[in-house]
């Protein structure tokens, strides 16, 4: 019964979305306040109905209702509760429902917090947002309905893919979707502004928090996914340049560019049409990502089992929204004239360079991702584009970005002098060079990767510190804590990028690996650490069997920790997984994986020394924190405060 109600709520939400996509748009055009006002309650209703529908599906998963096809295919009565819940979005249909839930949530929050928006803009934003909902509700109801029943329910389910039964991956998709879908707000604002024909500083101020929030969520989502890959896939890779990873990375890059160009619109009323274009493209890349994950045209590790009909449907959605928005853009963009003027060397031009680098980098990732498809269709060549290509083609952009970032971030607006700004940074530049040189001297190989990475990373970290410090003027520490949150956010996020660069380059340059047959009780060395295999035993988990090894890790005779790598078999899903054991450290991880028993009684063991591994995710966390700090800046709330006051004044007049 609850299932049917959930299904019905979804259909109702679809109908509400249809109304909300049309009525406020007409209202805004004709200046009819009543019609415009429809948007707000409709957005709320849409969200509540979708939330109910999602809750109904979750209920079916939690109670293991095996009359539902989706539950049978992705759940099992013996699965731990956490994974029964995360199983809701561990599949195509359920994850689409989560997708629209978040879409309607963003629509609803725009209705709640959008009080300061001019009524016509607000009505148009909500209408465009709802048009996106219409497309995706239709997609779910017509091609991927999660509420289908089975005539003959089985006794138990087929279990969720065991790789997905992991806390890291349980929360990876919701964050990723919050990011993907959050960019729909930037898109809606861009299209609404194009219809309105007006882009000004106020518009940029409204659109920036949404983009910032989406970017923060994407950062967390990508970070979680990469961390999961690191400890779950069994050899400690953290990024594979897989099409699905690229699908989340491209919107991230474009969103980062959009954040920065929106600053120029906000502060200097320039780069308007470019910012609008970026906002459209950011969501476009989100849709392309959805297409890549769900159509199956590009093979990937992560793709959902899928069928072409769905791919075609998403392609239509993509074509409609991108085609429509870009046509509108072509017709209206010339009306967005820039106001501020600035010199060749200025904060503005620094941000233009930032945008060029990020946008072209995203484009390189894009072309590499779709090239196998293009080559097959256009040139009848079946080829692969993998990690080696991306490492070579993408990295230079990040190197240049890292090189210019600290200087660009400190240039004053309008007109600046490079030498004056660089003079402030000279000490940390020398320091960073020294760190790079030290890395070069200490390492055994003669690879440039490590030293260059150390230089760039520390240049970014120290450069951000100098940036923050110079903001205090001569007041020093006293002023430091009272600086606007946005200043803190900027420095923390930039330093986070530096920390991530340190982690990636350190790990890639100085990782050590050892593969051997370990006999019980016989110690072996990895990068100065000693490991001993104490025992191997069979263990039974809630829904799996495990072969668990016990290793003691020590250095120079001093015990550090005991590690338990596992090899699990999930009998229902008929899938084995490896669970690496990791001794986390500030400067290094020791990573142990156990393999098959050997004929001579030993066990195959892979052990790794992974320097600076945790810095990769530490940096991502810093970037996310930086974004959140900036988001909490008081200046974004000023408009909200002003709104309350007008409302208060308005009451007695009535």
């Amino acid at each position: 019964m609850i299932t049917e109600l959930g299904h019905f709520a979804l259909v109702l939400a679809f109908l509400v979305a249809c109304v909300q996509a049309v009525v406020p748009l007409i209202g805004a055009h004709k200046r009819w306040p009543g019609w415009m006002a429809v948007a707000e309650p409709a957005a709320n209703a849409q969200f509540l109905l979708t939330a109910f529908s999602f809750a109904a599906l979750t209920y079916a998963f939690v109670t293991s209702d095996f009359s539902l096809k989706l539950v049978v295919e992705n759940s099992h009565s013996m699965k731990p509760m956490l994974y029964k819940v995360s199983g809701v979005w561990g599949n195509h249909e359920g994850s689409m429902l989560l997708w629209v839930l978040i879409l309607t949530l963003f629509g609803a929050t725009a209705a709640w917090f959008g009080g300061a928006l001019p009524p016509t803009l607000k009505a148009r934003v909500l209408a465009v947002q709802s048009a996106i909902s219409v497309a995706f509700f239709a997609f779910i109801l017509f091609t991927s309905n999660p509420f289908l029943r089975l005539a003959v329910p089985p006794f138990d389910g087929k279990d969720l893919n065991p790789l997905l039964q992991d806390p890291g991956l349980a929360f990876h998709p919701p964050f990723l979707y919050l990011g993907y879908v959050g960019l729909s707000m930037a898109f809606s604002f861009a299209v609404a502004a194009l219809i309105e024909g007006r882009v000004d500083a106020a518009w940029a101020r409204w659109v920036r928090p949404w983009t910032l929030a989406a970017w923060v969520f994407l950062t967390i989502g990508i970070g979680l996914g990469s961390w999961w890959a690191y400890y779950e896939l069994g050899w400690g890779g953290f990024w594979f340049w897989d099409p699905v990873e690229n699908a989340s990375f491209m919107p991230w890059l474009i969103a980062a560019a959009l954040l920065h160009s929106a600053i120029v619109v906000e502060k200097r009323e320039s780069l308007k049409s470019w910012t609008i274009l970026l906002a459209i493209m950011a969501f476009g890349f989100s849709l392309i990502g959805t297409f890549i994950v769900r159509s199956g045209v590009i093979t990937s590790v992560h793709a959902f089992a899928n069928d072409p009909e769905r791919g075609v449907f998403i392609l239509f959605i993509l074509a409609f929204f991108m085609g429509g928005a870009l046509m509108l853009y072509a017709a209206r963009a010339s009306a967005m004239e820039a106001k501020g003027i600035f010199g060749m060397v200025s904060r503005e031009s620094g941000l233009v360079l930032n945008n060029i680098l990020l946008a072209v980098a995203a484009f390189v990732v894009f072309i590499g991702t779709i090239w196998p498809l293009v080559a097959e269709i256009a040139f009848a060549r079946k080829l692969s584009v993998g990690a080696p290509f991306f490492n070579m083609a993408f990295t230079p952009f990040m190197v240049v970005l890292g090189l210019v970032l600290p200087v660009g971030a400190m240039l004053p607006w309008k007109r600046a002098s490079l030498s004056r700004t660089f003079k402030k940074l000279l000490p940390v530049f020398v320091l960073a060079l020294a760190i790079g040189g030290l890395a070069w001297a200490v390492q055994s190989g003669r690879s440039l990767l490590g030293p260059v990475g150390m230089f760039l990373g520390s240049w970014l970290v120290f450069g951000s510190a100098v940036d923050l410090w110079t903001r205090t003027g001569s007041a020093g520490f006293k002023r430091l804590m009272r600086l606007p949150r946005a200043d803190w956010g900027k420095s923390v996020a930039h330093a986070g990028l530096g920390v991530t660069m340190l982690g990636i380059s350190g790990l890639m340059a100085w990782e050590q690996e050892d593969i051997l047959v370990a006999q019980t009780g016989e110690p072996f060395d990895i990068a100065g650490y000693t490991l001993v295999l104490d025992k191997v035993e069979r263990v039974q988990g809630p829904n799996y069997f495990s072969t668990m090894g016990t290793f003691s890790l020590s250095k120079d005779g001093k015990a550090i920790s005991t590690l338990h790598p596992e090899k699990r078999t999930y009998p229902v899903a008929k899938m084995p997984t490896t669970e690496a054991a990791i001794d986390n450290g500030f400067l290094r991880d020791i990573y142990v994986v156990i393999g098959d028993p050997q004929t001579d009684g030993g066990w195959a063991v892979r052990s790794y020394y992974k320097p600076l591994a945790n810095w990769i995710w530490g940096g991502s966390i810093l970037m996310a924190i930086g974004g959140m700090l900036s988001l909490s800046d008081r200046r974004y709330r000023v408009a909200a405060g002003a709104r309350k006051r007008t409302a208060a004044i308005g009451v007695p007049a009535e």
Partner: protein, 150 residues
């Protein structure tokens, strides 16, 4: 429970990326083999190189690469040997042959175009006549005061 145990027995034991018995005695040769393996695709997997893959075929390819190296092939010859048999698809790092030049040139071309456009834009912004900022209307002034008070 019996069903579970039966199922467990039926599950094939997972094979594993680079097994200890595959490793060559000569460390220099082994290092070259690893380098080559990282650039070859496991054909039956989804976007994994043969060095990381658990598949049976990946193991065969790893052994084949090592065989060729032991036989005295250079890295290029060993890769060419594999490509001859399995096609261009095994190369994770695509060649620049034929239409692929577009793939490789796309980044640099876009960068140059982007920098060019950016430069033109900056030039124009630098020399644009300063626009008069319109004075605020009374209504706007009142609202500004209200907001600043806050």
């Amino acid at each position: 429970m019996k069903r579970l145990i039966l199922a467990l027995i039926l599950v094939a034991a997972p094979v594993w990326a680079v097994q200890p018995d595959e490793i060559l005695d000569d460390p220099a040769l082994e290092a070259r083999a690893r380098e080559i393996s990282k650039n070859l695709r496991c054909l039956v997997c989804r976007n994994e190189n043969i060095d990381d893959s658990n598949a049976e075929l990946a193991r065969d390819l790893r052994l084949l690469v090592r065989e060729r190296l032991v036989a005295g092939d250079s890295n290029e010859e060993a890769v060419a040997y594999i490509v001859d048999r399995y096609g261009e698809y095994v190369l994770l790092n695509p060649t620049a042959r034929g239409a692929n030049w577009m793939l490789w040139a796309a980044g640099p071309i876009m960068l140059i175009a982007g920098l060019g456009l950016g430069l033109v834009y900056l030039r124009r912004r630098g020399s644009a006549p300063e626009q008069k900022v319109e004075a605020l209307s009374d209504e706007e002034k009142a609202r500004l005061a209200e907001i600043m008070d806050d």
